[in-house]
Amino acid sequence: MPKDGEFYQRDRGRHPPALTPDYKTSVARSPRYPLISLQSSVSEITGPVFGHGDVDPLDRDMIYNYARPGESAIGERIILHGRVLDENARPVPHTLVEAWQANAGGRYRHKKDTYLAPIDPNFGGCGRTLTDEHGYYFFRTVKPGAYPWRNTVNNWRPAHIHLSIFGTGFAQRLITQCYFEGDPLIARCPIVQTIPDPDAIDSLVAVLDMNATIPLDTIAYRFDIVLRGRRSTLFENRLEGN
C-alpha cells in the first residue's frame, strides 16, 4: 500500500492572482515578489485536528442557532450540502467546515457593517460542522441577500456564503465563497471575476438540488468542495527527514 506523500502542487492558474486591480482593495494588499515554492515538510502535511467536542450539532443550523426560543431566522429556507473531497476524489472525513453570510436582506451582523438593510434579531450568520466519515456536510440557513459594497459606486455582491475548510494538512487551508445557480450578479462581480478561469468560477456555483429539498419546508443547493490531494509515494522520496 503506497503511503501518502507531499501535496500536489497548487494550480495557481485556477486561483485568483494576488493583484487584481478591478478589486481595488487587492492593489495595496498583494505581494509583489514571487512566492518561494516549498516541497511539503511535516509542517505543511500536518494541520489541526478537530473533534465532536469542538462543535455542537446545533452549530450547523443557522435558522435556529442564534434564534430566540420559539422563533427562527427570516428568509428563504435552504439546505446547503455536499461533500469535501481531495483531488484524488477521496472523501475528507471529520474535517471542520465553517460558514458565514449576510442575512436575507444582505446585512451582516458585524460592527463594521452599516448597510441600511435591517439586522434580523434571530439570525447570527455563522455556522460550523464536521464532515462525516464520507466527507459529507450540510448546513440549514436562509438564502443570503445581495448587498452593495464600495469598489466602484455601483458594485453588488451576488448572494454568497463564505466557507472555510481545513482538510488534514495546513497546506490545504482554504477560504472560498459559494454562489447560487442563475444569479445574474455573478458575472458582474469584481471579486468573482478575480478568478481568471471560467470553469473555475463555475465550480463555485451551487446547483439547485430538488432531490435534497424537504417538500413544503426547505429548498436545497448542492456544493461540493475539493481540497488538494497528496501524492502516493510509489518510490520513497525521503519526505521524512534524513
Binding site: Y33, L38, T46, V49, E98, R109, C126, I175, V226
Partner: protein, 206 residues
C-alpha cells in the same frame, strides 16, 4: 486522443472579505453564539517549554496597518511534534498547536501567547529550525498568504534551516525573523508582516 486523467481540481480561493470574523471569531464581530470559539488557546495548560508572546502588525503597500486581518498559526510543541497523526510523536494533553489571531480594529496590532516550538524534521537535509507557520487572510487578499516565523535567537539553527536557505536573496531571509525582547521576565517576539515594499515579507507557495 489519449485517455483522460480523472483527478478533481482544487476549489478556487476567494477573499475572506471584511466580515471574516463573523464566521471564524464571532466575538470579535460583536456577538456571542458558540459555547466555545476555536483557536484561542494554542499551547494549552500542560505544554512544556518556554512560554512566549508573539506580537506584530500587518502593513500594506501604503505603510498602513491592515486592520481587518485574521491570522492562523500552526506549530509543533517544544519536542518538535505536531498534534496530528503524522506529527512525529506524542504531544501534551490539551496541546493543539493551532491558533486564530485577530487584530485590534483601531490599530491593527495583534498578539498571541504560546510556547516556543522545538526543531522539526526537514524533508531531506537536516532538521528545520524552530518556526511557526502562519496563514494570513483579509479583505483584498485573494488567496491566503503562507509565511513562517523564525526566532532571531536561534541563529545556529536558522543558519542551517533548509527553508531559509532556499531563499536566494539572503537579505530577504531577515523578514522571517521575529525580534526578541523581554517584558516582565517573559520573552516577547516582534513579527511585523509587510505585504509590499523593499522589506516585503517572504511568502511561500506551500
Amino acid at each position: 486522443m489519449a485517455q483522460k486523467l480523472d483527478y478533481l481540481r482544487e476549489t478556487p480561493s476567494q477573499t475572506a472579505g471584511p466580515y471574516v470574523h463573523i464566521g471564524l471569531a464571532p466575538g470579535a464581530a460583536g456577538f456571542s453564539i458558540y459555547a466555545q470559539e476555536l483557536g484561542h488557546d494554542i499551547a494549552g495548560p500542560n505544554a512544556r517549554g518556554e512560554r512566549i508572546r508573539i506580537e506584530g502588525v500587518v502593513i500594506d503597500g501604503t505603510g498602513s496597518p491592515v486592520k481587518d486581518v485574521l491570522i492562523e498559526a500552526w506549530q509543533a510543541n517544544a519536542d518538535g511534534y505536531y498534534a496530528h497523526p503524522e506529527g512525529g510523536g506524542p504531544v501534551e494533553e490539551g496541546f493543539r498547536g493551532w491558533g486564530r489571531v485577530i487584530c485590534d480594529f483601531e490599530t491593527g496590532e495583534w498578539g498571541f501567547d504560546t510556547v516556543k516550538p522545538g526543531p522539526t524534521p526537514g524533508r531531506n537535509i537536516g532538521p528545520q529550525a524552530p518556526h511557526i507557520s502562519l496563514w494570513i487572510v483579509s479583505r483584498g487578499i485573494n488567496i491566503g498568504l503562507n509565511t513562517r516565523l523564525y526566532f532571531e535567537d536561534e541563529s545556529a539553527a536558522n543558519a542551517a534551516d533548509p527553508v531559509l536557505n532556499l531563499i536566494e536573496w539572503e537579505r530577504r531571509r531577515a523578514t522571517l525573523l521575529a525580534r526578541r525582547s523581554e517584558r516582565d521576565g517573559q520573552g516577547v517576539y516582534r513579527f511585523d508582516i509587510r505585504l509590499q515594499g523593499d522589506d516585503e515579507t517572504v511568502f511561500f507557495d506551500v
